[in-house]
Amino acid sequence: LLFMSIKSPSLLKLITAFSDSQSTGKMTTLTAKDKDRVKTFWAQVSGKSEDIGSEALARMLIVYPQTKTYFAHWKDTSPNSANAKKHGITVMGGVADAVTKIDDLKAGLLSLSELHAFTLRVDPANFKILSHCILVVMANMFPEDFTPQVHVAMDKFLSALALALAEKYR
């Protein structure tokens, strides 16, 4: 291993990074830096939370039409409908709440997880889809602030949020 490392510094770095992440759980656990970045960015954009939510939900319905299957009970599933707008606001409210519970998402989102698991039964693959749309909207509305560093922190946060939301599924 040492010989390989001497030959390839990047391999050494990869091994070190891997063992670091095994001990600190960087892939799915939010580091202090991540949380800091999320909270800071959220403070900057929370004033537009409703717009972000409505935009993200609308885009989800347009770009991933299969997601409309969850809203068959709406008379109007078009992205600009009142229902869609309102729902985007509701969902983003959940994200805002999750920011305040960032230190223990599993506990903080317990009742929301039960709702999604037993009542809504949204396939968790869709959490990834909506997260992507949220990131696209954030980049769109805050191009200067949504740096790669903020992006990775937000992506990790939304992934952790989705994981906590899926906790009660099975």
Binding site: L61, I62, V63, N140, F146, H151
Partner: protein, 147 residues
């Protein structure tokens, strides 16, 4: 055979006609390396990738980002035959470069986000849908020759 609406064709043509390759390419690739650090595995000889700042400032990353983005040009020029356009490149990525095709999706997500930031209001839901459909077809074609 992929069906493209007039809107989709016009949207893709428009986006690429004003594409700043030397800005968007580097931004997309460096973002990918930062957000999905395991993608750095393919760039062992690119020098300093030790932190976000190093990645973003790395000239080899920038150059390669531009190259990759120009790689999309052939699809833009021949939207009705993307699969055959990328057959050779697919073989290259599989047999010579040994790139896990999942990475194509990661990069295309980053490209979407960078373009979204650049175009602002113009990048609405319908435009996003067209852009993502285009990238999905390219990604699919690039993975086609893997075995």
């Amino acid at each position: 055979m992929v069906e493209w609406t007039d809107f989709e064709r016009a949207t893709i043509a428009d986006i690429f006609s004003k594409m700043e390759y030397e800005v968007i390419g580097p931004a997309a690739l460096s973002r990918c390396l930062v957000v999905y650090p395991w993608t750095q595995r393919y760039f062992g000889n690119f020098g300093n990738l030790y932190n976000a700042a190093a990645i973003i400032g790395n000239p080899l990353v920038a150059k390669h980002g531009t190259t990759i983005l120009h790689g999309l040009d052939r699809a833009v020029k021949n939207m009705d035959n993307i699969k055959s356009e990328y057959a050779e490149l697919s073989v290259l990525h599989s047999e010579k470069l040994h790139v896990d095709p999942d990475n194509f999706k990661l990069l295309s997500d980053c490209l979407t986000i960078v373009v979204s930031a650049k175009l602002g209001k113009e990048f609405n839901g319908e435009v996003q849908a067209a852009f993502q459909k285009f990238l999905a077809v390219v990604v699919n074609s690039l993975g086609r020759q893997y075995h």
